[in-house]
Each structure stands twice: as C-alpha cells, then as structure tokens.
Amino acid sequence: MNLLEIEYLKTYFFTEAGVVKAVDDVTLSVEKGSTVGLVGESGSGKSVTAQSVLRIVPRPGKIIGGKVLFNGEDLLLKKEEEMRKYRGKKISLIFQDPTSSLNPLFTIGSQLADIVIEHEKVKKDEAMERVVKALRIVKLPDPEHAIYQYPHQFSGGMKQRICIARALLLNPELLFADEPTTNLDVTIQAQIIALLKDLQKELGMTLVMITHDMGIVAEMCKNVVVLYAGNVMESGSIEDIFERPHPYTEALLKAVPRLDETRKLISIPGNIPNLIDPPSGCRFHPRCQYAIDLCKERKPPLEEVGNSHFISCHRWRELQGGRS
C-alpha cells in the first residue's frame, strides 16, 4: 500500500523573468514504512516537490496541476485549514540549513511547544513535556535546560537534532528530509544520518530522503526517484537503479567518489538547464552522451520497464541490450 502517490504534479514559479517550470509532471509513489531517495542536482525540483506535498511553496510559486494522494486522499483538494492539520502532524519536513530554519528570536521550547499546542490543543506545560521528550529522542544533551535556550546557543549539529525533534514531535506518518546533512561537518553528517536511520526503524515512519548524494541513497534507501530539471527520469528499487540505470542516473553515479576505485571522479558536463525555457524533448538531451535527434524532438514517456522500475528514455532498452 502506498502512503503517498504523486501524479503529474506541476509547480511553476511565476517570476518577472518568466514562468519557471520547477516541477513539471512529476509522478512518484512512496510505500508505507519505506525509505525513498529523491535524487537530483540542485535545481532539479526535489525541494519544490516536497514543498508542494505540504502546500507551502513560497511565492511566486504555484501548484497548477496534478494530484497528491496521501492515504488515498488528494491533498490538493483540501481546504487550507484542513491542510494545516496535516502539516507537522501527519507530514513533516526537515530543512537543509538548521541555522536558518529555526527562528532566532524564540526559545527552542516556545517555538516547538507552539506546534504541539496548535495541533493538540493542550496546555503549555504539557506541550513543553512533549518537547523535552522529543529532544531526548534525538539525543540532545540536557533537554530540560535546552528548551529555555535560543537557537544561536547551539552548534550546527545540535540545531539539526532540534529540527529533527521538531519534525517528529507529533509522530508524523511521512517525513521529508531535505538534504539534512549538506550544511554540516562530515563527522556530524554521519551522526545525523545514523540518527535518522535509527529513528525511521524505531518509529516505523515513512522517510523521503532528498539528496544529491548517491552514497547516502545507497546507505539508507530501498527505492529511488531520480529527478532532472523538474522531470522524473527514473524511479525504482535501489538494485535496478544501480544496475540498469538511466543515462542521467549513470552520470550521477559516476560522480560519486568511491574509496575502492581509483578511477577519476567524473562530473556531468554542462549545467542544469534554464527552466524558463527548458530544452525540447528529453530535458537531459543537451548533456546526454547517448542523445540522438529523437531525444531532441520528443519527450520520452515514463514507462514501466521492469517490476516497478520506471524509465523516461528513448534509448534505454537499446543501451541495456548493448551492455548485456
């Protein structure tokens, strides 16, 4: 049973320079209790997809089409007040930069307790107790004291623990973690990843890991969705994706540094395209080493090529044939 199903989601940003098609026909599903990796370079639409699910896309962004089915109900059809009850309670989001995602002018206790109060209508004392409990779960030292402190009094890693506690306060069914380790030191990164893994197992929640780091994906996820320039390039199990990848995924995988191999780290040539005027056909074709004229002319459909393995590529079958 799928907890989340996104169908043909379109989220555009109406800027002065033009319409940025940040998320364009994204389709994906997330199985209950699993960990899914949402992968792509920056600007591929990963974060906007998560924001669209929660319907908190910042201006001038707008969701203009598609469906977001959560437990079978379309979130895009909910009234704002109904939607609010999902945020933080059923679906949570952890941000990339813990420093900027905590309000600098409020104590940790007061900003976290407010969330409990808004959802559960409890007294402040009780809310504070819940906050302390959540802070203990994320292994923040001395949580009884921490609730009276301000964000600037904590280190980056501790702040990210606080942010994780905030996301877990109300035991959400679905947690988006938007590059939760990118802004942290390497040693702290490993700790946070370990913490998320443990928590996912202990609490049995569904986790969507948004990242550009294939290493993290390999370590944590069962399924992967690969986004490029607002389009889904590929989705499937981790085995499928590592063994029979889409040309873009292949390029991404080559960009992962590996200790056991001596080959050179390859970066993908070219830049992420301008989404106001995206490339015709397959959006990846200008940077794809296998691109042919067809790729420029027609957009490949997202087809199921194996058991729950979806690919959007004109040449994938042919290339697999050549390889095997």
Binding site: R87, G88, F95, L105, F106
Partner: protein, 326 residues
C-alpha cells in the same frame, strides 16, 4: 545586575557627548558677536550705558572660557540662566512648554507605530496586490511631502474652508468653543491636536511602513517561516508572531531615531500650527539670538534624544537574544 551596570555605563558615556554638543553650540553662538549688541541692534532707544548694564547683568564681559564654565556649572545644577528677552528664567520657559511638545510627539509616534504594523505586514504579504500598491504609494507620498506644506494644506481645508478645526495653538479661549461646537476643555484640547497629530503621524507612518514592509519581505523569505508553516502553525500566527518579531527590530531602531528626529523637527510643525512648544520657542529664540534659551532648549532636546536612544537599545536587546548588552 548587568542591566543596571549597562545603564550607568551608557549614562556616563553620554557626559562627554553632552559637554561636546554644548561646547560647540556655545562657541558658535559667541563667535557670532556680542549677544547684547545683536539683540538690541534694531532698538535706537537703548543707550550704550544700558547695554553695558545688560552685559554686566548677564555676565557677558568675562572671557568666553569663563562664561562657558559658568554656564556649565549652572547647567550641572539644573539652571539654564535667564532669557535675554524679558529676563524670565529659561527653566521656567522650558517647563511651561515641554509638556505641549511631548504630548504632540508621543501621541503621533505611538499612533504611527501601531498603524504601521498592520499596514506594513499586509502590504508585504500581499506584495504586488492593489492594496500593496496603495499602501506603498501613500508611503512614498508621505516621505516626500514637506511637513510644513502638508500642514498648511490641512489648515486651508479644515480650518479656513470647512471651519471644522482650529488652525493654531494648543488651547482655545472658552468663548471660542462654540465656533467649533466644543463643549469642554478636553474636547478643545482634542480639536487642537487633530491637525498637527495628523501631519506628524502621517510623516512617521510613511517611514515605518516602508521599513516594515521591506523587513517583512526579507523575513518572509527565510527558512524559519517556511518551517513554521510546514509545522502547521496557522498563517496569522506565522505572520504576526514569528515573522513580525523579526521584521520589527529595524522599526524599533527607527522608533528611537524618529523620536530624535521628530524632536529636532518640532520647530517646523510647531511653527505651522503656532503650537506653544519647545520647537517654536527655539525658532523664536534663534531668530532673536536669545542665547541662554537656545542653549537650554538644545540641551533638553539632546538629552531627550540620548535617553530615547538608550531605551531603544535596551528594547532591542530585550527583543533579540543575540544582542547582548555590554
């Protein structure tokens, strides 16, 4: 303990500033020439002997450093000397006027502050909407309109043309009350306040709204706002609790500065509305070169500005935990 220490330190810090400002004004004035000569230049009936007597009376025959030290000594003891015109003690003049100035300023600053909050927040939240354009246009008119001209236009319309409100002064004689349908002293005071308060509030409001709108636009882009929304905090609370507190800090600094600016700007408004306050007295004193009164008003206003700045810094530190007072 930190707070008391901080206030004491800041107060000590003010001393050289106050001495410096008083010294500068003193030297500039006395460099201009003999105040008695200047003050009586247009009066042919005053003899040289009388001038000499006046100089002696005001202690103007001593060397300038001695005069300054004497002034400073009196100032420390809370005495500003006597006006060159009529010989009334400056302290008495100031204490009779300060309340009128304070009344006008405090009402306008508070009104402007509280009106600017919903206007600035709404304008930023609905950026590029018709409401935002209206608010922003009014604000840019507000910062561009000369206060004295706006006051004059209001007087022309509401006093001369419509006859609704009095145009001058802070109080009207009881026999004038029926003209404006006023029944008691309180209403009379209120009627006199309407026009000057409108002008001052409008000018302040414009600055506040522009600053708050810009601050809100900046704050609304921050991750912690999106995080609050993502946690299911209702939008009203996101805006008026979490965003506003962050956007309002620059406004608080402005509040301190605007108290200073408005006190210094009081001469303009008070002249237009013939308001019996420190500003108008300053204009008259400067035109007549009534040096003791000029010094007195300058020092009182400087001290008020310094106190306003101190209070602003304290409030700032209270609002923003990242700012420490030391």
């Amino acid at each position: 303990m930190g707070l008391a220490k901080y206030i004491i330190r800041r107060t000590i810090y003010m001393v050289p500033l106050i001495i410096g400002i008083s010294l500068v004004s003193f030297l500039v004035m006395y460099a201009a020439g003999d105040p008695i000569q200047l003050a009586t230049a247009g009066n042919p009936s005053i003899t040289e002997a009388q001038r000499q007597f006046l100089r002696e009376y005001y202690g103007l025959n001593d060397p300038i450093p001695i005069q300054y030290l004497r002034w400073l000594d009196h100032f420390i003891h809370g005495d500003f000397g006597k006006s060159l015109y009529g010989g009334r003690p400056v302290n008495e003049i100031i204490s009779s006027l300060i309340w009128e100035t304070a009344k006008l300023q405090i009402i306008s600053i508070l009104l402007a502050f509280f009106i600017s909050i919903p206007a600035g927040v709404y304008s930023a939240v609905k950026q590029r909407s018709a409401a935002d354009y209206t608010v922003s246009s009014i604000a840019i008119f507000g910062i561009s309109v000369p206060v004295f001209w706006f006051g004059i236009v209001l007087i022309l319309i509401f006093s001369y043309h419509l006859g609704w409100l009095p145009s001058a002064g802070a109080h009207g004689a009881p026999y004038l009350w029926p003209v404006f349908g006023i029944k008691n002293e309180f209403l009379d005071e209120l009627a006199h306040l309407v026009l000057p308060v409108t002008v001052l509030t409008f000018a302040n409001l414009a600055y506040n709204v522009r600053l708050l709108r810009a601050g809100m636009l900046e704050v609304l882009r921050q991750d912690y706002i999106m995080a609050a929304r993502a946690s299911g905090i209702p939008e009203r609370k996101v805006l008026y609790k979490y965003a506003l507190k962050n956007a309002i800090t620059p406004l608080l600094t402005l509040l301190g500065l605007s108290i200073g600016g408005m006190l210094a700007g009081a001469p303009v408004t008070e002249t237009v509305f013939s308001w019996p306050g420190l500003g108008r007295a300053y204009v008259t004193a400067s035109l007549r070169l009534d040096f003791p009164l000029i010094m007195g008003i300058t020092m009182i206003i400087t001290i008020m500005i310094l106190i306003a700045n101190l209070i602003t810094d304290l409030v700032y530190a209270w609002v923003d935990p990242r700012v420490t007072i030391d």
